[in-house]
């Protein structure tokens, strides 16, 4: 029902004479339920939009400090120069103009779960009936000796897209032919499990064209990684992996891959049991991660650093009337990805509507998918369907898998085309 007809309908049903003031129908005041969403990213935007799409009698406010959102997804392709930074930039205009969401460009700095209010940096306090928190990830700055937030201009993480992506891209462009790039991968769980390996692929892709004497080394705290056989196969095909001419080397923990310390001055890392020294021309440290700061400071996280939730409704297990979605939450078997956040947000939107307007919550259904672009016209994917089983989100039997090994080039090309389609469709789901 459109905004107009629904208001009209309710107005008449309440027996109020429709007092039109310049075409505007006055309705007997019925307190509108208020939903506040913290974080205008892959999870938050979808939750806000889908609540408004389903029920325009709920008042939705979205709090986000930045006017522009740069997607992490496709940001590795900005590093290689395949895409520009502007092509991954989006704004929130349509969310207010088309969906009537109140956009508040500010940061949430405190949540009062008893008073049911959110305090903003700018000084305002906003009340809610239900709060949805989707702040993404924060970093464990104390975890690596010699590396912290003060160094991210010199040694970018680029694990949030935007200026960090641009810095890393510029460093790659400035690097000499024959230079060494080091990427360090933190222990799981972290945002987007295949992304470090896609990043290495994209950097190799750039080197192959412009700096063929160069190398990218991946120092990994994990023994295995997402889509590993497929990445390795692709690296062999495109980047000479396994030969002494390889553009990419992967160093697992048993070969000394775990990062121990960083010497920023010397652009050197120390890794492995024996703290071997490795010098880089470009250093990309992906820091260990935890739930977004606001979630942790509001008592939404447990001692793992992530937020436990009821996996059907995403309501926090620790605080009433607050839901946590996206990277910050513990969502059973689902990895931390944009598609997961999107899928969780839609389930959460239905749960919030059921809670506010009455009505039974239907059985949730989730999908995750993640494409990785290894090179031009060469992509691989993973996809899975998830359902709730014994209170936990679990992959449905027989409904999860990756692209096959030994597939034809045409197959890989089709997946690259589908990866770009995925990007267009998921960003339009969010922003238009």
């Amino acid at each position: 029902m459109s905004n107009f007809t629904r208001r009209h309908f309710l107005g008449l049903a309440a027996g109020t004479a429709a007092a039109g003031i310049a075409g505007y129908y006055f309705i007997a005041p019925r307190a509108k339920k208020k939903v506040v969403v913290i974080g205008g990213g892959a999870g938050g935007v979808i939750a806000a939009k889908y609540i408004r799409k389903a029920d325009n009698m709920i008042d939705v406010t979205l709090i986000e400090p930045n006017k522009d959102y740069y997607t992490c997804f496709m940001s590795n392709e900005v590093l290689s120069g395949v895409h520009t930074i502007d092509s991954i930039k989006f704004g929130y205009d349509k969310l207010s103009s088309q969906y009537g969401i109140n956009m508040v460009y500010d940061s949430a700095i405190a949540i009062d779960a008893n008073a049911k209010t959110v305090r903003l940096q700018g000084g305002t306090t906003i009340a809610y009936d239900r709060l949805i928190v989707s702040p993404g990830v924060d970093y464990r700055w104390d975890a690596i000796d010699g590396y912290d937030e003060s160094l991210i201009e010199k040694i970018p993480h680029a694990w949030k897209a935007g200026s960090q992506t641009v810095i890393l891209r510029k460093q790659l462009e400035a690097m000499k032919n024959g230079g060494t790039v080091i990427i360090t991968v933190p222990p799981k769980p972290f945002r987007c499990p295949p992304a470090p390996y896609e990043r290495a692929s994209q950097i190799a892709h750039y080197m192959k064209q412009h700096k063929p004497q160069s190398k990218v080394l991946i120092f990994d705290a994990n023994q295995a990684f997402a889509k590993q056989p497929l990445f390795i196969e692709g690296w062999k095909k495109l980047y000479g992996y396994g030969t002494d001419k390889s553009f990419i080397e992967w160093i697992p923990p048993e070969e000394g891959g775990e990062l121990v310390a960083v010497d920023a001055e010397e652009m050197t890392i120390y890794a492995g049991e024996f703290e071997d020294e490795h010098k880089a021309d470009v250093l990309n440290i992906v820091p260990p991660q935890k739930a977004g700061k606001i979630a942790i400071e509001s008592g939404l996280a447990d001692d793992t650093g992530w937020c436990p939730v009821n996996q059907q409704t995403f309501e926090s297990s620790l605080q009433k009337d607050i839901h946590v979605i996206g990277d910050s939450c513990i969502a059973g078997a689902m990895p931390k990805s944009a598609y997961s956040a999107n899928s969780q947000a839609k389930v959460c939107a239905q749960a919030v509507i059921s809670a506010l307007e009455g009505g039974k919550m239907v059985e949730p259904s989730f999908v995750n998918t993640c494409y990785s672009l290894i090179g031009d016209d060469f992509a691989i994917s993973v996809a899975a369907i998830y359902r709730l089983k014994d209170g936990k989100i679990q992959a449905t039997q027989g409904a999860s898998g990756t692209s096959p090994l030994d597939a034809s080039l045409e197959y890989r090309r089709s997946e690259a085309a589908y990866a770009y389609s995925w990007y267009k469709n998921i960003t339009s789901d969010m922003f238009s």
Binding site: K346, G359, S381, E410, S421, W422, S428
Partner: protein, 196 residues
């Protein structure tokens, strides 16, 4: 070769064979349907109309065609990249509910990079070789999901039929035989891509 005789079989494949009992949907079903289709639109576009460049638009697909596509991909009868896995996650009933939803969505088409000369030649080729089975006429719901579909998808789809033993494989073989090469298939693809 005459394909007219296949018309009857074709109708069976695309329409009558999927003979599901009509059910009345209860009130909670709307929420349930949204719960299911919400997971598809991140890949297929809002209400099933894809922004491309490749993932197919599934809005407006006829119900039996949609169900057949899902079942064939689920059972591995039709090659796919991700859809085999995706389709496996849904029961027959859920597939029917989604088929019902998408069949009722209005198709939004986006302009593609079409070579108009190729499209013009493709129009003639279509009449000659394909129209007998794939009628493109003014009707609200075409039998197949081809006209206006994303061109890269049509290319992938056509190449999947090669070397098979289906009706489509024979039709392609016949086409290539008569035209001495596969190149002219591009003209057909531009013709379909030009349809709005």
């Amino acid at each position: 070769m005459h394909f007219q005789k296949y018309k009857y079989i074709l109708l069976l494949i695309t329409g009558v064979i999927v003979n599901l009992p009509a059910k009345t949907l209860d009130t909670n079903t709307t929420a349930q349907v949204f719960m299911l289709v919400n997971t598809c639109v991140g890949c297929h576009g809002i209400d099933g109309s894809s922004l491309g460049p490749a993932t197919p638009t599934i809005a407006g697909m006829r119900k039996p065609l949609f169900i057949k596509a899902m079942q064939d991909m689920k059972n591995g009868l039709r090659p796919s990249t991700v859809m085999g896995v995706v389709a496996n996650g849904y029961t027959d009933e859920e597939i029917e509910m989604m088929a019902d939803f998408f069949s009722k969505q209005k198709v939004v088409r986006y302009r593609q990079n079409v070579d108009l000369e190729k499209a013009q030649r493709g129009k003639e080729l279509h009449k000659q070789y394909c129209d007998s089975c794939h009628k493109i006429e003014v009707r609200t719901q075409p039998l197949f999901n081809i006209a206006g579909q994303w061109m890269p998808y049509l290319r992938f789809r056509l190449s999947q039929f090669k070397n098979g033993d289906s009706m489509m494989a024979s039709a392609l073989e016949y086409f290539v035989l008569k035209n001495d090469s596969e190149e002219r298939l591009e003209e057909l693809i531009h013709f379909y891509g030009s349809q709005q």
